[in-house]
Symmetry: C2
């Protein structure tokens, strides 16, 4: 079957994945949600025709958004995930036995439903009793949370277009700083330096206005636009962000302590981009 799903990643860049089955396609109040079976990347979740995750490479993104933050905080008990309706971050967070409460603030409840139904290897930890799902706007949720509620905040936002634009704003990060406990860590996905240099500079700048310690690290996610993916990390206290202080339970497929340290070794052009934001 010569059927191709194509993401128009930028005006000049396309990714095509051969598609063997349209498993589900529906329109929620916010977006088109689709799950395809691809020939080579397993199942694919697409929102408005953009790759959110594939079974083949989701482990890189989810491990690298979660473990640098979680392994750096010695005593995280409460974790907030903003976005992340596919459940991949929830799965990785649930590997830490010390975590007592995981709140997932996802705008679109239908994304969660679709992923629970069709992406069980990613969304399988929603059943963990520590997980509390809050369907609604993450920005609004955060504004109502009492100060210092969470030890870790993970911003698993889709691309900064449409409904998720607020998750890259100054107001959002100011609230995140208020809600984060002392000694806590915030991690946010911040897109590709080849394609979204401005966004990285902007988020780094906004984070530095709120947090004394801000870092940037990266990983490779083949199906994401530009493939080189950055994450921004911030803490309220002086912490060596490159160093994992504790390890998750179970095995990882990408993250290791050494990989975490190496991920902070920024290629020259990326280090330059961070410097420009200062």
């Amino acid at each position: 079957m010569n059927l191709w799903w194509t993401e128009q990643q930028t005006p000049g860049l396309r990714l095509g994945l051969r598609c063997e089955e349209i498993i589900e396609r529906r329109r929620s109040a916010y977006q088109e949600i689709a799950v395809y079976r691809t020939a080579e990347y397993g199942r694919l979740l697409a929102l408005d025709d953009m790759v959110m995750t594939t079974e083949a490479d989701e482990f890189v993104y989810h491990e690298m958004l979660v473990h640098p933050a979680l392994s750096t905080v010695t005593s995280a008990r409460t974790v907030l995930i903003v976005g992340g309706g596919d459940g991949g971050c929830v799965r990785e967070v649930c590997r830490y036995p010390a975590v007592e409460r995981v709140v997932l603030a996802e705008l679109d409840g239908e994304v969660i439903e679709v992923c629970r139904r069709h992406l069980p290897t990613i969304a399988g930890s929603f059943v963990d009793p520590r997980v509390e799902i809050r369907v609604g706007d993450g920005v609004a949720y955060l504004a109502d949370v009492p100060a210092e509620t969470f030890d870790v905040i993970l911003v698993d936002a889709p691309d900064p277009l449409g409904p998720a634009a607020g998750l890259f704003s100054e107001a959002f990060y100011a609230d995140a700083a208020r809600v984060l406990a002392p000694g806590g860590v915030l991690a946010a996905q911040t897109e590709c330096p080849f394609l979204h240099a401005d966004l990285i500079r902007r988020v780094q700048r906004v984070l530095r206005a709120q947090f004394p310690v801000v870092g940037l690290y990266w990983a490779v996610v083949p199906t994401y636009p530009g493939a080189m993916w950055t994450f921004s990390l911030a803490t309220k206290e002086h912490t060596d962000l490159t160093r994992a202080r504790r390890l998750p339970v179970g095995s990882s497929r990408y993250w290791t302590q050494e990989v975490q340290a190496g991920a902070f070794a920024l290629p020259t052009f990326l280090r330059g981009l961070v410097e420009e934001s200062k």
Copy 2:
């Protein structure tokens, strides 16, 4: 202009780049050689419709094939590049003033001509007086070279299909080991672990049969299939491959000493792949 150049990277994976101009397209004795002007990745060199290099991300590949090897050998005077007709490796090697002789063994002289004409930022160092171009089969060239002629051998092979298949063979690496000086280093591009796990295992195994020290490291090259790109490094003497011992002249855009060390920190699945090859 809605003109797209598309690489069928695997049977189930396509990369599309918007194309603004076909600068040159011709057929040599070996392959179709084409240079396009893309909308977002600068000029693109394609051989048989596969990306060889783009102006936007060539620096990652060329710096990461050259500098880990060159910066690890303290006294490299002679360098052999097998393949590499675009001149990107030549450019990076020429940054080292101690290098006295650079031999480029490229099968297809027309690739060199086309790159000199249309990719001056990549191919600009062919004019360096230290550079000696040998047009012809790299495998045959190597078989005729006296033992211990080169301090560094760089295998800048295209994908292991068609004319370049011999550059991934056991016989080729046996000759490379013979030709390499004691204390020398060999580096070879070895494709993407998401798509070419077998090739990586095979080359690692072949190298270990010839060299006492073999390593694997990686970088991200967005326009290459799978984007996560590996390189295999081998030496005849015990050397810490992760550690750069000297620095190139001029600036780099990707490589740093820390990036080199980090590039050897293999994600779990990639470390597993190397272990399987033992």
